[in-house]
């Protein structure tokens, strides 16, 4: 039986606790009484993955079995989640590749030969051939990639987009033309957090800016409480409206998978255990890692972390009609991640690790670090935020990795130009978003190089809009002061200093909650 997540109250026997801070971690002694929220341990996994996939395809939710949807002469498109999931990347073989192989096998048996496989990367950067190969596996890659039948979605390829109309809220629906004109669209998903999947898959993963701007904007993002609860998230409401229109045009066969919490491979698996339960070996690995990281140059630390591949286990797979499938997925995600937390606190403490969805094989620039902390982790709640309105968030990250020119060119301009003028998501959205979204140079780099779309840094900033709106104080421990100031935040060198700085807002003995992630957890705040 797997142990559920739980909330620890720091007392004088509690050892220092691991806090992630970019390409490293520290052991922090928290004030007595601090609540520490630990994720549940990994759920039992599916013993036979191949059999589980086959079973899902043959016994789908609210849908005919996949073989019955396949026929000779049809046009079949298989779309899959891009490299932003899971985090870190999965040790080969990736679950998506295994699913795609089985789908292709059934298609072959049905005599289908018009098949295209497309990465649903929306406005994310194009993946390299090696990255595509890692996801779909060697066999699929070799059969489809050289012929141009396995490719990244291009949201700026006007000729290959289809406008399917608008929702009753006036939202444009513009997605991949190939997907829209297929007889069947099979979507292969990896669900890491409750926010993923459902109508977000096709409606967002294969959509253009014209469509995305309707929900990826400051207003919608501020009103999404939380992103992890699609029934309370304005962004998801929009995605659901869009998804329902798409359903009228395209037959979608959704396949969703969920993973366990085994995100850290050896020798970093001590990160997953609770500190007071560390054995001698864990202590040894922790000390070795800490010492090694302390002396390693940044480049090496970067490589060390980014080369990490996780041996996730599959906790479940469902296929069929989008919403029915997603229900099942959410159940499993919640079982793996939800921890009940009683009441809000004055201060929320978060460690921001080296990796987020948008810096796979790349650097965690200050905007991405903000998105990771104030976007992802802050929003990892149900019902109400972990921190009370008007409280403080304390994050750990050096904010020092700079910008990857290949992957994040528009981020540099966003940081230098836009944030210099204002950090208010509504203000900058109004003034700059369209310019960045329509900049020909960014378009060019997005389409032909490996750059995130020009508008992407805005989305990252909007992500944090709800948190910035909710709390009065954001302080980064161990961060570059100048960078923090550019982002509109403050920097402190220690937790004690940060609490001192926050005391004007939350008093001198605030209640504190530390979300001990990764692995991912979802705080159910009652």
């Amino acid at each position: 039986m797997t142990r559920p997540g739980f909330v620890l109250e720091v007392d004088d026997r509690t050892p220092p606790l691991v806090v992630h801070e970019g390409l490293g971690f520290r052991l922090e002694s928290f004030p007595l009484g601090t609540r520490v929220v630990y994720p549940p341990e990994s759920l039992p996994t599916v013993p036979d993955v191949e059999a589980a996939i086959r079973d899902a395809l043959l016994h789908p939710e609210d849908s005919a079995p996949l073989p019955e949807l396949l026929f000779a002469g049809m046009r079949l498109t298989i779309a899959f989640d891009d490299l932003s999931l899971p985090l870190p990347s999965m040790k080969a073989p990736d679950i998506r590749g295994r699913i795609i192989e089985q789908v292709l096998t059934l298609a072959a048996e049905a005599g289908v030969d018009d098949v295209e496989i497309v990465a649903a990367n929306a406005l994310h950067r194009r993946m390299t051939a090696a990255e595509l190969r890692h996801i779909v596996g060697e066999r699929v890659f070799r059969s489809f990639y050289p012929q141009g039948l396995l490719y990244n979605f291009d949201a700026e390829d006007r000729d290959n987009l289809a406008h399917l109309g608008t929702t009753d809220h006036g939202e444009d629906i513009e997605i991949s033309k190939r997907a829209a004109e297929s007889d069947l669209l099979v979507y292969v998903n990896v669900n890491l957090v409750a926010m993923d999947g459902g109508h977000k898959s096709v409606g967002i993963g294969l959509a253009s800016y014209k469509s995305l701007r309707h929900h990826h904007n400051p207003k919608t993002m501020v009103q999404s409480r939380s992103f992890m609860d699609h029934k309370k998230s304005a962004m998801h409401h929009s995605a659901w409206r869009i998804g329902r229109v798409i359903k009228d045009h395209v037959k979608v066969f959704q396949i969703e998978t969920t993973l366990d919490n085994d995100v850290f491979p050896k020798p970093f698996d001590f990160f997953q255990k609770r500190e007071w339960e560390w054995g001698v070996r864990d202590q040894g690995s922790m000390l070795a890692a800490k010492r090694g990281l302390a002396v390693a140059p940044q480049k090496l630390r970067h490589k060390l972390f980014h080369d990490m591949r996780s041996a996730y286990g599959l906790t479940g797979i469902s296929a069929g009609e989008v919403e029915a499938v997603h229900e099942k997925t959410l159940e499993r995600v919640h079982r793996q991640q939800v921890v009940e937390v009683q009441g809000q606190s004055d201060v929320l403490v978060l460690g921001v690790p080296y990796l987020g969805p948008y810096n796979v094989n790349s650097s965690m620039n200050p905007i991405l670090a903000t998105c990771m902390g104030l976007g992802y982790y802050f929003n990892s709640y149900r019902h109400q935020p972990v921190v009370r309105r008007g409280g403080a968030v304390i994050l750990y990250h050096p904010l020092n990795e700079g910008f990857n020119q290949l992957h994040h060119p528009s981020y540099v301009d966003f940081y230098e130009e836009v944030l210099a003028e204002s950090t208010d998501p509504a203000v900058i959205g109004e003034k700059y978003e369209q310019q960045f979204a329509e900049d020909e140079w960014y378009r060019h780099l997005y389409r032909t190089s490996h750059a995130y779309h020009g508008v992407h840094p805005f989305y990252m900033w909007y992500w944090a809009a709800h948190a910035m709106d909710h709390v009065d104080e954001v302080i980064w421990v161990g961060a570059d002061r100048k960078v923090a100031a550019r982002l509109g935040f403050r920097a402190a060198s220690t937790l004690a200093d940060a609490l001192e700085m926050a005391s004007g807002t939350v008093g001198t003995s605030p209640s504190i909650t530390y979300l001990h992630n990764p692995p991912q957890l979802l705080a159910d705040v009652r």
């Binding site: 540099v412 301009d413 230098e416 130009e417 310019q435 900049d439 020909e440 140079w441 060019h444």
Partner: protein
């Protein structure tokens, strides 16, 4: 007898200045500068139209510093006559009547020593009013010297007295402070620069540099042309503020120029090997108001094909590939003209000095005038150091006040 700073010929010092000049201003104003404080007979030019003036204030210009540090191209050695008293940004009062101007009149000096001043038949330039293009600056009844402040016969503003010709004199309106008046000459150059820039309606303009040259050019561009966006490159906080007040749409740091211009013009950027990136596309007009090779190259790299790059101030050698490949018009802009043919509207038919005098009356310029730092002649080393680091020290203009002894 009078006190003056004199620039003399000293090859060793010229060489030393060249070697360390821009990098070590302290050494420049120490042993290396070919400058000395001397007692001289007041200059006198015994020709019709000439009169003696008493200096009230005289600015230190980038070209003065260039000459002193040996940075100036040898090109100019043929058009100056040593030893001379520098100082071509001059506000002074007439010691004697000068044609229609009575003694005591406060004037600013248009430093260009044209055919009229030299007492020769007007050359083609002078005849058409393009006095800054005069081709007789080495002949006539004066020693060679392109301007007052570079000619051994006329003296210059860095001395207590100088001589000037009626054609050079522009009375200062009542109510202007000397500090304001000292800005008229540099503003006249800026007026000329703005006109040479050939800006069409809504053109995007880049001004590289926010010292006095860049700031005044910005001011003149904003007031005399229909420029759209004007992006100014500034290093220091006070420059940023002035640039905005003077009409910049955007002020950017040197490291950000290309990025900002690329973004605001929708240009593409390319990265050559072992060298700095440049734009395909960019601003319509760029003004180099620094004269360093870096600033000039920035201007060249940020200008769209077929655009115009204006050299305001003596340029350092730079890579001109862009001028060829992008078919840029590279135009120089030197001093100012008696007759600025491109002036339109209320300014049509007026001289650059006339227009400059009016512009200097503007509040923003008056505020800048308040920051003018004046030194007595004997503190010349300090003054030059200050002028050299003016940007860093929060000053836009440093000047000599030869009347003062402290």
């Amino acid at each position: 007898m009078m006190l003056a700073l004199e620039m003399f010929r000293s090859l060793p010092r010229t060489v030393a200045g060249k070697a360390v000049g821009r990098r070590l201003p302290g050494i420049l104003s120490g042993y290396a500068a070919p400058l000395r404080l001397v007692t001289l007979d007041p200059p006198k030019v015994d020709r019709p139209g000439w009169a003696r003036l008493r200096t009230r204030l005289s600015g230190i210009c980038g070209s003065d510093l260039g000459a002193l540090s040996g940075q100036t191209s040898l090109y100019f050695s043929a058009v100056v006559s040593l030893p001379f008293v520098p100082g071509h940004e001059v506000v002074a009062e007439l010691v004697e009547d000068c044609e229609d101007l009575p003694a005591g009149t406060r004037v600013v000096v248009d430093p260009v020593l044209t055919c009229a001043a030299r007492g020769v038949e007007p050359c083609e330039g002078c005849a058409s009013g393009a006095t800054n293009r005069c081709s007789r600056i080495t002949v006539g009844h004066l020693s060679p010297g392109l301007q007052t402040g570079f000619c051994k016969d006329t003296g210059g503003g860095w001395g207590q007295q100088l001589a000037a010709h009626r054609s050079q004199l522009h009375p200062v309106p009542e109510g202007y402070s000397d500090e304001q008046a000292i800005l008229i000459e540099p503003m006249a150059c800026a007026v000329h620069t703005a006109l040479r820039a050939g800006v069409r309606e809504n053109d995007r303009v880049l001004v590289s540099g926010a010292g006095s040259v860049g700031l005044f050019a910005t001011f003149a561009l904003r007031r005399l042309t229909a420029a759209g966006e004007i992006v100014v490159v500034a290093k220091h906080a006070h420059q940023r503020e002035f640039a905005q007040e003077f009409g910049a749409t955007e002020v950017v740091a040197p490291g950000e120029v290309l990025r900002r211009v690329r973004r605001s013009t929708g240009a593409f950027q390319v990265q050559p090997e072992f060298s700095s990136p440049y734009l395909l596309g960019g601003v319509d007009v760029a003004v180099d108001a620094v004269g360093s090779s870096q600033s000039l190259e920035t201007a060249l790299q940020a200008t769209r094909a077929g655009g115009r790059v204006v050299l305001s101030g003596m340029p350092a050698p730079a890579d001109l590939s862009a001028a060829w490949f992008r078919e840029l018009e590279v135009v120089g802009t030197y001093a100012s003209a008696r007759h600025e043919p491109l002036l339109s509207g209320p300014y049509a038919g007026r001289s650059a000095f006339d227009v400059a005098t009016e512009l200097v009356g503007h509040d923003a310029v008056a505020r800048l005038a308040k920051s003018v730092a004046a030194y007595p002649l004997h503190r010349w080393r300090e003054a030059l150091d200050h002028a050299h680091s003016a940007g860093r020290l929060g000053t836009v203009k440093v000047a000599f006040d030869p009347r003062s002894s402290q």
